[in-house]
């Protein structure tokens, strides 16, 4: 397993009303973004140990420098179809929540972009209901729409049931 990029997460809160940096990634052709401050690193996962009887969103666990990280399959979590899943297995965006580490398995990781908070728009009415729970707004970019994901809600699998 190798890292593609290791992003240092700063600990200072940004002043309100200005720019936020997002790590972008695609799943099933859709563009998503999460605040860079929440992201520990991105990686190419290999040797994912499956956990029998785990909910389908959980792909399994991996060993990240001695810590056990739970892998969340974002395609399943976002309710997207299996077709088009990359053959190389995709990439992982590692986030921390409540002293536990999770890796979001996505198709590919894009750039880190900076966006001003004023441009953030509310979830459009046409947004898939499942995503509405997980999304915290959208940004209209030059060629695409980026959906901001709320990491804590993404990780809260129990609420889904």
């Amino acid at each position: 397993m190798s890292h593609v990029a290791h992003i240092e997460a700063g600990s200072n809160a940004k002043p309100a009303g200005t720019l936020t940096e997002f790590v972008t990634f695609t799943v099933g052709g859709n563009l998503f973004g999460v605040p860079v401050l929440r992201v520990q690193d991105t990686l190419i996962p290999d040797r994912i140990a499956t956990v029998p009887l785990a909910p389908p969103e959980i792909r399994g666990s991996i060993n990240l420098r001695g810590r056990i990280v739970t892998v969340i399959d974002m395609r399943i979590r976002l309710g997207l179809p299996e077709t088009g899943r990359p053959k190389n297995g995709g990439m992982g965006v590692t986030v921390e929540s409540g002293a536990e580490l999770y890796t979001l398995l996505v198709d590919s990781v894009g750039d880190v972009i900076t966006l001003p908070s004023e441009l953030r728009e509310a979830n459009p009415n046409t947004l898939d209901p499942l995503w509405r729970d997980l999304a915290g707004g959208t940004y209209r970019l030059a060629n695409s729409l980026m959906v901001v994901l709320e990491i804590d809600r993404v990780l809260d699998l129990r609420a889904k049931n």
Partner: protein
């Protein structure tokens, strides 16, 4: 808040805790100068540090306290309970002030003049103000449950004294009274006793609108150094540092293991010796670091005696707090997290669980209620029990509350078992307390308790019996444990099983002697004459059913959970490794089969299996495997004689057993349907009134809920034996030790590894129907004319005893013989025998020969001969009948055996020869006893259709 202040707060808090403990000791033995010395020093330190930091209010309070302690030390003041109370309130006040500082960073605006004045008055030999024990601190906020800080920890004997006084109507001492007492005590003192007017202010905790009495702050000179002596013995280290150390050591352990592995194969490696040393050092290091984080659970319990004592006083109850296993160690962080839950549960027990003394007396219980805390290690977990012997949880109220809170509908509740209903107390905002006391009852407790416990990966279970008490069991994994685990493979995934649960490994293949057999579609393994229920890991984890290895080999990990043994079928078995247990991610914690996960030496992540979880899930499997086991046992050639027993509990805590063969049915009847006639309890059962006889003479009849009952049936008469709990069905080879004296008991035996009493069902059924065993009035004729004796030939005393009542009930006098030789002797010596019941497995007994000999003799022509065989063997039966036996029955067909015997002894038309059963066929029935055919065993071994 700056570091200095933070450190001060932590340190002082520790000192105060120590001070509490010391004061309790001091109270027990006021003459101990050493204790007093250390108490004084501690207060002195506190005062000094306060002064150093410019915390004036704190310092003045501490100073006043120190004065009094100084007087104690000098012998100028006697440590009366009232005086000690005052000192303790001083400590409490300090705590409050500290709490205020922790919150806001500066001292709270609190007026301490009253307290200080009292302390000073005491120091000067004046009477302390009446200090009624105030069990609860009146804190500024009134939301949420309040933790008691005031009051003082009292030795148990003092507690009893107070209780005794309270219950006999003694009022708490008024100021005048205390004064008078003080006077009397001082009668022989040399100092002049001043009798001032009793100071009106009790220990005030609410701020009073008086100006604070100024007390000069003494120059800070002393601070800490004078008492550095006992401070140097320990060092403060942050938890993070320890955590890092722990992780590093774990990595070291794993790397060491890898090295050991690599070197293992090579005999002559030069690395071996130094590696051995490295290994030892690593193990020692591991132990040492683990110790830094482990603390005895007694630390979390230390506040509880005081809290319980205060609660007892406030509620007027008598409470004894038992703490067992206080030295059991667990991780410091875990300790912090369970402190509050434990406190909460203890308060609940004291406040709601235990009844008032008069209620307890009325219920026939000891006046003093007991709350028990017990902690111990078991299999990688720490188990903590919190139990009380109070009134138990009120299921009805919980039910009602659940409905009224909208947590479930009536229909849903109807479906729930009592156990499920009890779980409602863990819901947020749930409280059935009628009164919200200041102690508890606000309903914010148990959900928080459960959340906190689950946060650390633990579980909490609850049990409750109305009128008897409630108990909680908390199970917390020792997550920092480095444990030995067996690595296995199933469905191409690897798993770890804690070594401590593994009993042995067995390799089974289709061709070997040890092979997996399928009974009732459940796999079992025959292992050294025992049948072991098996569970397949593949099917449990719903992995794909794979092909077993070509050789048909499978591995079985024989696992032990408590006293229950079972086997886990896996594909492959690897090494035993030392692994670092890491808790499972919260989103996976709901899966009951995993107790953690870990990283192996080669870097892969594997799940750690929880044998407990597997055992519970396989519970269904177990039950059917057990009866399958019995069937096998019954038909096995070299099976030792096994008898199936039904194990139950009634009354006391010990288990009792009754031969399963005698029990017609197990029922759980609705307690609400039990009716009481003049002398007994009955219930409508299958269109008859069935009398209910409780096994336990002190049985408390329930008004509602399910009542377990063992039903004995004879003909169309049924009788229900009321028990507390039906525990298990065990098939075992038994050796009964007969006990002659106790009515209702045949004897005792070791069943399933436990010693238990074997119940004489006959006693109970005759209580229901005095003439249970009497059949028809043929009784008389049998005794008056003709043969009077019946002979039972069987080496097994138990069987003889089972058969005897049936024969005796029909009027026969029963003799017994243990061997064939003895049987022959008896028959030849006496002409009075009319019937012989012979067990075919009696040693030295050739049944056919015996029969032929008997029949050859004209005298023996009319003797009825019955053969009782361990197994059904048609051929043998046929040849026995030819030799002269009248009937042959298999022992396992108990009811049929009884039937046929009865028929024999009472001379009714005998059953046809074809009535001998092979398992599964419906026997013909005699015209008289139709319903006896409907015997249904609980084990599902349905030889006879119900």
């Amino acid at each position: 808040m700056d570091d200095l202040l933070t450190e001060f707060l932590t340190e002082t808090a520790e000192n105060l805790a120590a001070l509490d403990v010391e004061l309790v000791k001091f109270e027990r033995d006021p003459s101990d100068a050493a204790i007093l010395g250390s108490i004084f020093r501690m207060m002195h330190t506190i005062k000094g540090t306060c002064g150093f930091l410019g915390l004036q209010r704190l310092e003045s309070v501490a100073h006043a306290g120190e004065n009094v302690l100084g007087k104690f030390r000098d012998g100028a003041l006697e440590a009366t309970p009232a005086a000690v109370t005052l000192i303790l309130s001083c400590i409490d006040r300090i705590r409050q002030l500290l709490a205020g500082i922790a919150e806001t960073g500066s001292e709270p605006e609190m007026d301490n003049a009253g307290l200080i004045a009292d302390l000073n008055a005491l120091a000067q030999g004046k009477a302390p103000a009446a200090a009624p024990v105030q069990p609860l601190a009146e804190s500024e906020s009134t939301d949420g449950p309040v933790i008691s800080e005031a009051g003082f920890p009292v030795a148990a004997d003092l507690l009893c004294e107070v209780e005794a006084a309270l219950s006999s109507g003694v009022q708490a001492a008024t100021p005048e009274k205390i004064l008078a007492e003080l006077e009397a005590e001082r009668a022989h003192e040399k100092q002049p006793v001043l009798v001032p007017a009793p100071t009106p202010a009790p220990v005030a905790t609410a701020p009073a609108p008086k100006p604070a009495a100024p007390i000069e702050a003494k120059p800070a000179g002393q601070a800490a150094p004078a008492d550095a002596a006992f401070a140097n013995a320990s060092i403060r280290v942050t938890v993070d540092v320890l955590e890092k150390l722990m992780t590093l050591v774990s990595e070291l352990v794993l790397t060491r293991n890898q090295l050991l592995q690599m070197v293992r194969g090579q005999d002559d490696s030069e690395f071996k010796v130094p590696l051995q040393r490295l290994s030892h050092i690593t193990s020692d290091l591991q132990d040492g670091v683990m110790k830094t984080r482990m603390q005895p659970i007694g630390n979390a319990w230390s506040k509880l005696p005081r809290i319980v004592r205060d609660l007892a006083v406030e509620t007027g109850k008598k409470i004894d707090l038992q703490m067992l296993g206080a030295e059991t160690e667990l991780d410091r962080q875990v300790l912090e997290l369970i402190k509050d839950p434990l406190t909460h549960m203890v308060r609940n027990s004291a406040d709601h669980g235990l009844e008032r003394p008069e209620d307890r007396r009325a219920a026939g219980k000891d006046e003093i209620g007991t709350i028990t805390l017990k902690a111990y290690h078991e299999g990688g977990h720490i188990i903590i029990l919190v139990a009380d012997n109070g009134r138990g949880l009120n299921v009805e109220r919980i039910r009602a509350k659940a409905i009224s809170n909208g947590l479930a509908t009536e229909a849903e509740i109807e479906q729930m078992s009592e156990r499920q209903i009890l779980q409602f107390i863990f819901r947020a905002g749930f409280s059935t307390a009628e009164k919200v006391t200041s102690v508890s009852g606000r309903g914010v407790g148990m959900d928080v308790v459960r959340t906190n416990i689950e946060k650390i990966g633990g579980t909490i279970e609850l049990q409750s019996a109305a009128g008897k008490g409630t108990s909680f069991m908390i199970k917390i994994p020792l997550t920092l444990a480095i444990v030995s685990a067996l690595v296995v493979e199933s469905g191409s995934e690897r798993f770890a099983i804690p070594q401590i649960s593994v009993v042995e490994l067995v390799r089974a293949s289709a061709r070997s002697e040890t092979r997996i057999e399928m009974i009732n579609a459940s796999p079992v393994l025959r292992l050294r004459n025992r049948l072991l229920p098996l569970v397949s890991l593949r099917s449990l984890l719903r992995q794909e059913a794979g092909e077993t290895a070509l050789s048909g080999e499978q591995f079985i990990v024989v696992t032990q959970v408590g006293t229950y043994n079972f086997g886990i079928i896996v594909d492959r078995v690897f090494d035993t490794e030392e692994i670092v247990v890491k808790p499972v991610s919260p989103i996976l914690r709901h899966i009951p089969f995993y107790s953690g996960n870990t990283i192996l030496g080669d870097g892969r992540v594997i799940m750690i299996l929880d044998p407990n979880g597997i055992a519970s899930a396989a519970g269904q499997v177990q039950m059917s495997a057990n009866d399958a086991a019995e069937k096998l046992a019954a038909s096995s050639e070299h099976a030792a004689e096994r008898t199936s027993f039904l194990v139950f509990r009634a009354g006391a805590d010990e288990f009792k057993a009754v031969p399963l063969a005698l029990v017609a049915r197990l029922e759980e009847i609705d307690a609400g349907k039990i009716e009481r006639t003049r002398a007994r309890h009955v219930v409508q059962y299958r269109n008859h009134l069935m009398p209910l006889i409780p096994f336990d003479p002190n049985h408390q009849w329930k008004e509602a809920g399910r009542q377990p009952v063992l039903v004995f049936t004879d003909g169309d008469r049924s009788m229900g034996l009321v028990v507390d709990e039906i525990v298990d069905v065990v098939a075992d080879v038994i050796a009964v030790e007969l006990s002659a004296d106790e009515p209702g008991l045949i004897g005792s035996a070791i069943i399933g590894g436990k010693a238990m009493d074997i119940v004489d069902a006959g006693t109970y059924v005759t209580r229901a129907y005095a003439n249970w065993f009497a059949s028809e009035p043929v009784r008389e004729t049998a005794t008056k004319n003709g043969p009077r004796f019946a002979l039972i030939v069987d080496a097994n005393p138990f069987v003889r005893d089972l058969l005897t009542p049936h024969l005796a009930g029909a009027g026969w006098r029963v003799m017994s013989a243990e061997t064939g030789a003895e049987a022959s002797r008896l028959i030849e010596s006496d002409t009075g025998y009319g019937i012989v019941v012979a067990g075919l497995d009696t040693p030295g007994f050739d049944a056919a020969a015996f029969a032929r000999k008997l029949r050859a003799n004209p005298r023996g022509a009319s003797i009825k001969l019955a053969a009782v065989s361990p197994i059904t063997d048609d051929d043998e039966f046929a040849s026995l009948r030819e030799a002269g036996f009248d009937i042959c029955v298999a022992k396992s067909d108990w009811s049929v055996l009884v039937d046929q015997l009865r028929a024999l002894v009472t001379d009714l038309p005998r059953l046809e020869a074809t009535a001998e059963t092979d398992a599964g066929a419906q026997p013909n029935v005699t015209p008289v006893r139709k319903k006896t055919a409907r015997v249904r065993r609980v084990t599902g071994r349905d030889q006879v259709a119900a």
